[in-house]
């Protein structure tokens, strides 16, 4: 069964199910037994939903036995990042302050996936409240990279990416604020899509940075990415930042002639110093392969790129400090351990938040409080918002000349656990190439190229395709033809 799992994609699972090669229950049980053997070493999951998943898989088998038509995702075993709510299951966001919180409703994306009869295996580990690039910031445990257990899986959706890479889920949901889907996808050798801002509902996604957060798929193939993205995108009246736009079937059946007609931009600023030899070679390989499809390439410039990291690390903490104010250690928790009777409410807040938040949330909340404070607002927060406009304009201008852009995902392959843990700025630099386009609200996908020997292990390298707003069809389409080469 293990080899069956290794070759299983959403597409091949669906075909196998329809052709009665296996049942949904058999696969779900096989995934759980694989998780029990494997996850002790990897640590991808924070909690499992075995009983619920088995029941949901059985329902799909009953529907098939009755001769009902089933969709692509019926019975498919998915991992869900633990900052996305599933009614009745824990949702900790990997934070001690939410240690005992059980979700009281379904996120918008979960409602959509439940209507497709998908199966939820469990909740995947992340950097606390999705703040981080390595999953080392989890309040509960460190997830290991399946390719080399001494290395990080990337973050913040490290549990989701590791689960898919280690075949402990057919596909997964992550969330992407500045690279949190694409970076772990690249480090783990899987496909990750950060969608256009406003295309996927944020209802039931525990908010980190409301103006940037988007849920997206982590999958083994680009084709699966298109399948899962199509299922989770579209309107939701519970999210006032959702644009209520749906995508057509072209996502799943891209037209080769229109893909061949795309012009690919190579931004100068993304190919400078500081990129490892493996990443450089990987991205060059991807470029050569795409050239063989007949696409035109053009050099472009995004002159404000170098300001994106500072801009991002002002806007994010500002929104974090505001979004995190609700965690008083009382309302979302049964944890009374740190709130003895007869203490003042003020002291309970201080203690609960002091004990409940880990170092990175504390750093961001306090930095955010600072950049929003009287006397500093103009020189930091307001300034960053204006710089954000300049960064967006760079992309608007460049997209007049090209249809998609191709860049590295990260400057290096997966780094060692502990390597950057004590230096926040070097950790933030891992997101250099994934952040700027997010500030502009654009979609981007991370696609694996191949693996390189680093030390004694083979590590994956990915490349990133950036699309125009609402043009997931271009990057998913090009990606689908790329993976057939």
């Amino acid at each position: 069964m293990a080899t069956v799992l290794e070759n299983l994609t959403l597409k091949s699972f669906h075909e196998g199910l329809v052709n009665k090669k296996f049942s949904a229950l058999e696969i779900t049980q096989a995934v759980f037994s694989h998780i029990k053997n494997t996850d002790k070493q990897i640590g991808a999951y924070l909690s499992l939903n075995e009983n619920g998943a088995i029941k949901d898989a059985e329902k799909v088998d009953v529907a098939i036995a009755r001769g009902e038509n089933i969709g692509y995702l019926a019975g498919a075993s998915l991992a869900v990042k633990d900052n996305i709510l599933i009614d009745g299951l824990p949702a900790t966001a990997a934070s001690k302050i939410l240690e005992n919180y059980v979700a009281s409703y379904d996120a918008g994306v979960i409602k959509k996936l439940k209507s497709e009869n998908a199966v939820f295996l469990g909740k995947a580990n992340l950097d606390e409240f999705a703040m981080g690039s390595s999953t080392e910031n989890s309040g509960f445990k460190i997830t290991k990279n399946p390719h080399d257990h001494e290395r990080v899986p990337g973050g913040s959706s490290g549990g989701s990416a590791a689960a898919v890479a280690a075949h402990m889920a057919i596909a997964a949901l992550g969330s992407d604020t500045g690279g949190s889907i694409r970076l772990p996808a690249s480090f783990c050798g899987v496909v990750g899509l950060g969608p256009t801002y406003g295309s996927v509902s944020r209802s039931g996604l525990i908010a980190m940075t409301s103006s940037l957060d988007q849920i997206g798929p982590i999958t083994k193939t680009v084709e699966d990415s298109a399948i899962l993205f199509k299922a989770i995108s579209g309107g939701d009246s519970m999210d006032s930042t959702n644009a209520n736009r749906s995508y057509g079937d072209e996502l799943l059946n891209p037209n080769l002639d229109s893909i061949k007609g795309l012009t690919v931009g190579l931004p100068d600023e993304y190919f400078g110093e500081g990129i490892s030899a493996e990443v450089r070679s990987g991205v060059e390989t991807a470029i050569e392969k795409i050239k063989s499809l007949g696409l035109k390439f053009k050099k472009i410039s995004l002159p404000h790129t170098k300001y994106a990291l500072s801009c991002y690390y002002i806007i994010v903490p500002a929104e974090v400090s505001s979004n995190s104010a609700r965690y008083d250690g009382i309302r979302y928790s049964r944890n009374t351990e740190h709130a003895p009777q007869n203490t003042k409410l003020y002291d309970i807040y201080l203690k609960q938040r002091g004990v409940g938040f880990g170092p990175e949330p504390k750093r961001r909340i306090i930095l955010g409080t600072f950049v929003l404070s009287s006397g500093y607002y103009d020189s930091y927060y307001d300034k960053a918002q204006r710089v954000r406009t300049l960064i967006k304009k760079d992309f608007d201008e460049a997209f007049k000349e090209v249809d998609v852009m191709l860049t590295p995902v990260a400057p290096t392959t997966a780094f060692k656990i502990g390597e950057k843990a004590n230096d926040p700025i070097s950790m933030y630099l891992a997101d250099t190439f994934t952040i700027p386009l997010k500030l502009a609200g654009l979609p981007a996908i991370s696609i694996p190229v191949k693996q390189y020997k680093v030390g004694s292990k083979e590590l994956p390298v990915g490349f990133q395709l950036i699309g125009k707003h609402w043009r997931e069809v271009d990057i998913l389409g090009l990606g689908q033809y790329y993976e057939k080469l």
Binding site: N100, Y105, H304, I330, R334, L345, K362, I365, T369, P424
Partner: protein, 97 residues
């Protein structure tokens, strides 16, 4: 150049943010924040006069749903997670002394 954050401002910010820090945390955080703010200095070299600030992610405006009444509550699930309650109200210590 002296950093806009020192020990005293950090203590004030931690109080505003309602986060209790121990001495060790305070020292590390002060170092980190000073380094991060130094990194932000590069933004000051950019002329942003006349540039509109960008707020929100996608330039979306006024997304409304129909103003229709609907039964849509899961209040019970929230109440059940209160650490202490009285008549379905969250019970907390006095706010004022």
């Amino acid at each position: 150049m002296s950093s806009p954050i020192n020990k005293k401002t950090l203590e004030h910010l931690a109080e505003l943010a309602r986060i209790k820090l121990n001495t060790q945390e305070e020292e590390k955080l002060l170092q980190d924040l000073q380094k991060i703010l130094e990194h932000f200095e590069e933004l000051k070299t950019l002329d942003t006069a006349g540039v509109e600030p960008m707020s929100g992610g996608g330039g979306l405006k006024n997304i409304f749903r129909d103003d229709a009444a609907a039964e849509n509550t899961n209040q019970r699930a929230g109440i059940e997670q209160f650490p202490d309650k009285q008549d379905d109200y969250l019970k907390v210590p006095p706010v004022f002394e």
